[in-house]
């Protein structure tokens, strides 16, 4: 359900950012990881170059490698099947698979979630992209608020616990808002990614100072 609405919102947002219906559908078929797709069309819509836009989307997709790593332990897929399963390694399939009690139901959960989300996400992207031309400017319908709401919903469980996660999020916001007026489109988000190593460095510096003081 959530995927249906955000698929529709993605198609409409892509249309509003100037992508054709074919381009929006190609993204959902070939990229199939929602946050990266929203990030890419957002950057392209803001006038980013293709490589800067793709870099932001790619950074965001790196988390899927870590899902894949845990999934390969849980699912024990034979090597020949991995290239086919790989496209379904996303937030939702991982969440469902990790929640299963044993390997058989994990495999079933992964497959069922993968097939149904892939179908739903692509169908609703097509509808949204077709609808975008009929709707006109997605801004009038408030659909340009769907992207940030999706990001916030993904972010919120990660920062609830406070600590380094919250500091990183705040620093990311400060960096991007400071960089937007100064740097070309697409680059500010990449600058904001530096918040992660900066926070880790600051933490390490503080730890070693406390070490010396002792």
């Amino acid at each position: 359900m959530a995927v249906g609405l955000s698929g529709f919102a993605f198609g409409a947002t892509a249309g509003g950012a100037g992508l054709t219906v074919a381009q929006a559908c190609a993204l959902s078929l070939l990229v199939f990881t929602g946050a990266s797709q929203f990030a890419l069309v957002g950057a392209l819509g803001a006038g980013a170059g293709p490589y800067a836009a793709a870099a932001g989307a790619l950074f965001l997709g790196v988390r899927n490698a870590f899902y894949g790593l845990r999934l390969s332990h849980v699912l024990r897929l034979p090597p020949w099947i991995r290239p086919f399963a790989a496209q379904w390694v996303i937030d939702e399939t991982s969440a469902v698979t990790f929640a299963q009690p044993d390997r058989a139901s994990a495999r079933l959960g992964f497959t069922v979630t993968g097939v149904s989300l892939f179908t739903l996400w692509n169908l609703t992207t097509l509808l949204g992209a077709l609808g975008a031309s009929a709707l006109g400017d997605p801004g009038t319908w408030g659909l340009d608020a769907a992207g940030p709401a999706v990001f916030l919903a993904l972010l919120s469980p990660k920062v609830r616990s406070g600590g380094l996660e919250q500091v990183t999020a705040v620093l990311g916001v400060v960096l991007v808002l400071a960089a937007v007026p100064l740097l070309p489109a697409g680059v500010p988000v990449l600058v904001a990614a530096l918040a992660a190593p900066l926070v880790l460095l600051a933490r390490r510096g503080r730890d070693s100072r406390e070490e010396t003081a002792r």
Partner: protein, 102 residues
């Protein structure tokens, strides 16, 4: 054409990253520094993307109806509303505010 380049680069990259995770020896990704960066980089990116797509219009910082929509989404998240409701609330509040303020 540039859009297709961006699509193809993103598609190939995102697929490679997924396959890499499924096929990689566990030892490499289990190093603590890699784990910590992997946890924090998406947080920095998601926070930055939220802020940028809410408060930026091109290279200008603005506060418009999107900010109200995002605020409503944040309230929905605090009330532990499901994902669908969170996104729906942001869209509806933004649209209504634009409609009423002309």
């Amino acid at each position: 054409m540039t859009t297709w380049i961006a699509i193809i680069v993103t598609a190939v990259g995102c697929y490679a990253v997924k396959l890499l995770g499924l096929s990689m020896p566990a030892a490499l990704l289990e190093r603590p520094i890699v784990q910590r960066l992997a946890a924090l980089v998406p947080i920095a990116l998601l926070a930055a993307l939220t802020a940028q797509q809410t408060f930026c219009d091109g290279s200008h910082l603005v506060i418009d109806a999107r900010a109200a929509g995002l605020g409503a989404a944040a309230v929905a998240l605090l009330l532990r509303a499901p994902f669908l409701v969170v996104v729906g609330v942001a869209v509806v509040v933004t649209a209504m505010l634009r409609y009423t303020t002309g």
